[in-house]
Symmetry: C2
Subunit: 318 residues, 2 copies
């Protein structure tokens, strides 16, 4: 008996999720004894449907039929965006389906609402892929560090900005030129606002704060400064100070319980392993009262890395 | 209702496990809704019993009573050594208790035997703490990378030797002097053979191979070279080649399914993040077909870091 999954959307991460579940089906079965099968893919773009990436008979345009299918236990929301994604997640939860999503914007903006809807319907909402892509940060916080008081979480959680800052410093080029390179490589979008202004990092930091400290702070309530006004001189000055300039997302839980959090360009000392994280890579540094410091590094975005994290949540729910 | 646990032995890791479960009981309950309680501690040393680290009434010298207690569902083996530890683990499994252990030597030497005994008795044997201390490597391989084919695992999995090599290179001192420093700091034992000859690393590599590739290779069958014959010149030569000399534990699964594995001093290029792991820290680098490369870094030994990993397994079993 296999567990049946529906994918909502078949863009980059949809394909990555499908790829991870199908290409590595034998690995999944060896490690867990479980089979996971994509039963339906909600997608309206005929080009995508005809692309041959997945069998044509899997595709549907009927979301209600997915919700009404008692065999489908898990729904992966991968359409992106805000309002429709939120609506699809809520409808799936209310139909008694577990939901897995990489959508940091929707999760961060609606953290309590989504968890409440999941709890009320006896299902789970999971979002390992929403922070750090392939990096197992949520699993590590929840499971491996369960017997720890996490005192601080710091991260480079946006690959676009880390790529731009790395290029500005190493190649001594301007912000505008580095952004163009990032766009040419597919690391930055045509409208880079959400990345370069730190909005994406703030969404991820909001989720990390909730997971580490059990406190929800809306991403729009977080102190946030982006990288769009940085110059080569700022990067050079950091190096002169024995540091690297990084867009850091940081949250510390003080002794009195208050949380000191920000997203901003920060001079990270060379002694900190975060200073060594280059290009599009992400890293999350967890400070704990038992485990001491744990650093997790890997790819924070991309089709297969994000698909890997989506598939991990899906298999765990199965 | 709380889940009851027995600790076998109350040395360094025993105290760390107790500390993680008691100091962070509120964190554990917040994250999981579960209570875990140490009901008994098997310990014969009166000094330890009288030390005040744990209430005296928890201590017992009666292992049979622990096995016969239906309330105790989980047994943590922390006595160390080989034969007695193995016997205790097997007796606990056969009594229907889950077993958690940091004992890499026993797990690596008896991998199939212990897993068979666990399966036959409908319980689990868990050993997150046996590789990389606080680093969540087993959890990451089993859960977060479940939908990946892992192609290669490389690690610095012995803090003693990494400390010695770091000191030899950075302070330009001999192997003998660096070993003395490590012993003075408590990073090396009076008889350092198991660490410096790579035996400890081979035990951990055997476990990593089994977890990553599903193949058990006895640690004594692994190619193994230690660090005791290295000189300052070897360290210097590595730096001249743009590398750092590290005691690497490495295993690669080739296309034809064969596994190429070794423990040996290796020139690690500066571009590899493993080259930046200094002093007593450990790191494990996983190469995967979906997640790409994941690097996990942290403390590979010590009372509280190892206790953190023991407690994670215990809470997960609860």
């Amino acid at each position: 008996m296999s567990t049946k999954v529906a994918l909502l959307g078949f863009g980059t991460v949809g394909k990555g999720t499908y790829n991870a579940l199908t290409t590595n089906a034998a690995e999944i079965e060896r490690k867990t004894g479980k089979k996971v099968e994509v039963k339906k893919i909600l997608e309206i773009n005929p080009k995508v449907i005809e692309s041959g990436y997945a069998p044509k008979e899997l595709f549907t345009q009927d979301f209600d039929a997915i919700l009404a299918d008692p065999e489908i236990k898990i729904v992966a929301e991968i359409i992106g965006g805000m309002d429709l994604a939120k609506e699809f997640i809520l409808r799936a939860l209310r139909a008694g389906k577990h939901v897995v999503t990489p959508n940091k914007a929707v999760v961060a903006a609606n953290f309590d609402l989504l968890h409440k809807a999941a709890a009320e319907n006896g299902v789970q909402i999971r979002y390992e892929a929403s922070v750090g892509g392939a990096i197992p940060v949520i699993e590590t916080i929840r499971k491996s560090l369960v017997a720890n008081r996490i005192t601080k979480v710091e991260g480079i959680v946006n690959g676009t900005t880390n790529y731009i800052l790395t290029k500005m410093e190493e190649d001594n080029i301007s912000y505008a030129d580095a952004l163009k390179q990032a766009q040419a490589k597919g690391f930055a979008e045509a409208d880079p606002t959400a990345d370069v202004e730190g909005i994406d990092s703030a969404n991820k930091l909001s989720i990390l704060i909730a997971e580490c400290f059990g406190v929800y702070i809306k991403p729009t309530d977080l102190d946030r400064t982006g990288i769009s006004k940085l110059t080569r001189d700022d990067l050079r000055l950091a190096v002169q100070n024995g540091c690297k300039l990084k867009l850091l997302a940081s949250a510390e839980r003080l002794e009195d319980g208050t949380i000191n959090a920000f997203v901003k360009p920060t001079q990270v000392p060379m002694e900190s392993p975060l200073s060594t994280v280059r290009n599009e890579f992400n890293a999350i540094y967890l400070h704990c009262n038992m485990a001491d410091k744990i650093l997790l590094t890997g790819r924070g975005a991309g089709k297969d890395p994000t698909g890997s994290a989506m598939a991990a949540d899906i298999v765990d729910l199965a």
